[in-house]
Symmetry: C2
């Protein structure tokens, strides 16, 4: 059923299994012990960062299959995405599994987009089991978006650090797990931010807009949820997000940001304003949010994944950064 | 309803309107008079090719709105994609329309992926009206994937020419138009082709695999369709595709390839093995296939859009080219 911008699932699909694979720096962070696997080598033993990221996805996908007991032939769709040009981390992983593959691009918002699509397929009866999987890799992203690593460029305080991680979920039509009860797919906003070292500022309005749309469509208040998570607004974006919501008459008291949860920012100064990347919210979801829903620490959660949709080419052409945010409502049955 | 890899829609969604915007060279081709708009300037007056491609999408989307009378607020989802890194042709267009946006990446297969998703949303009742829209631009793609244009590099006979065009469809739950009765989302295949100047060879097995899956799932034969179109296999890929199908005991007698339909290859030697790009099958669909279905020249058509999922980075790392193909069954009611 649809109301406004939001799809409400009458028979909510379930997130039955989840997995996360994180890099060394992420393993040192507050969630270090909660990831299924922490890889001591960021390179995964590959000579290429791009290939290493594919191996993160592959490891995560294998964990999902082990946990769920589902084979390739049991899955009717794989929704996956990443930040590499032409989404190659995902497509090079997808060639190793014989599952219908739909490549998604929503930058760091991709996990919510993939989860939402997986839920649509399951709820409509077009799939019994699907997988949603995203990743990012610091070194692959630096090569893609910024400067050669060896250049050792200084980072501004508003910059965010691309998380090296993959996170994935099995979304099924039936079974037991966490309900994916609603999804709000966002539209693209652009408030004219041109600083690629301040993506939080670019994404904050999109996150606020999607949340306000969802609250209106569902007729609920922030207090109806135990926690509202944003994907990776970081420190700067989070405070802007909260300010916008306050100005709109909708103050948030239970907000956390995946980009702030994943690193010890006091100890790891390099991460500046916090984590980002398509793997950030996916890994935090699998390592922290879903387990808390499973154990009953949390009951009703909104996850708003945010994406900055620029490319280096368009930014070099002096373009501003379009942003998007997709929201999923997760609920302990 | 699902059978095997294929989704069959009990109440098929309808492609109610379509539009195409083509470049100068495409305008000189056999379909020149059938495009809604032929742009005399490949640059669309922009200093940047990437921005020009966004303007192609924008023009196409405006045509769709004019033809359908639908406003942004009437559309519940925009599924769009292109070949630029981080899909910026689409996201920079999407910021100009206030429609929930789901960025798709399937390289040149993106149009079938977008159409299939649009149909899933409409059939499931999660949307009344959606848009599926893809584009490609020769100059933006050359900068992305190959050599600087001014370098004037020679092309091999197996190379394909990226089509400068955008094509789009309105897919609706009800109304009148062409039925989108089934979709087969493909899985990724990689037969080890490493030559980026021979994408047809890389994509042909994926096209054959998806078609064979669909025929098995539907219990039909090629003779049950008036025409079977492939997206952009070009001359080399098409002959390989036909040979694979013959070896599999499934010879095709009614096959056409969008990449071969769009140019006069005898007059335009530069296009070598034919057209390619996410805009190729989209523009041919809107300019040729759908009008023929509407006027009754064709009744039952399969469109198999094919995509080569590599990036320059992965190819420079000596990787082979993973490929995919998605199929839609289009039917005159």
């Amino acid at each position: 059923m649809r109301n406004g911008q939001t799809i409400f699932f009458k028979q909510p699909p379930l997130i039955t299994h989840w997995a996360s694979v994180a890099g060394r720096r992420e393993g040192r962070g507050p969630l270090g012990r909660q990831f299924d696997t922490v890889c001591p080598q960021t390179s995964m033993g590959s000579p290429f960062w791009e290939h290493a990221e594919t191996l993160y996805q592959q490891t995560c996908y294998q964990l999902l299959q082990q946990k769920s007991g589902l084979a390739d032939s049991d899955l009717q769709a794989l929704f996956a995405g990443d930040l590499q040009a032409q989404c190659t981390a995902s497509s090079y992983h997808a060639r190793t599994c014989h599952v219908p593959y739909l490549g998604q691009y929503g930058a760091c918002s991709t996990m919510a987009q993939a989860l939402g699509l997986a839920a649509v397929f399951c709820s409509a009866g077009f799939a019994t089991h699907t997988a949603a999987l995203t990743s990012s890799h610091f070194c692959a992203a630096e090569r893609q978006f910024r400067l050669p690593l060896l250049y050792g460029g200084q980072r501004t305080p508003t910059a965010q650090w691309t998380v090296t991680a993959a996170g994935g979920c099995i979304v099924s039509r039936t079974g037991s797990g966490i309900q994916l009860s609603a999804v709000t797919f966002g539209s693209v906003l652009d408030y004219g931010v041109t600083d690629v070292n301040n993506m939080g500022a670019a994404m904050a309005p999109a996150a606020a807009h999607t949340l306000l749309s969802y609250l209106k469509d569902s007729g609920t208040q922030p207090a109806d949820y135990d926690l509202i998570y944003t994907g990776d607004l970081g420190a700067v974006g989070s405070s802007l997000f909260l300010r916008i919501l306050e100005e709109e008459g909708c103050p948030l008291y239970h907000h956390q940001d995946c980009g702030l949860l994943i690193y010890n920012r006091n100890q790891e100064k390099e991460v500046a304003a916090g984590g980002s990347g398509a793997g950030c919210s996916a890994a935090v979801l699998a390592a922290d949010i879903l387990p808390k829903l499973e154990s009953g620490i949390l009951h009703r959660v909104l996850l708003i994944c945010t994406g900055a949709l620029m490319s280096t080419t368009r930014v070099q052409q002096k373009e501003s950064i379009p942003s998007i945010a997709h929201l999923v409502f997760l609920c302990r049955p």
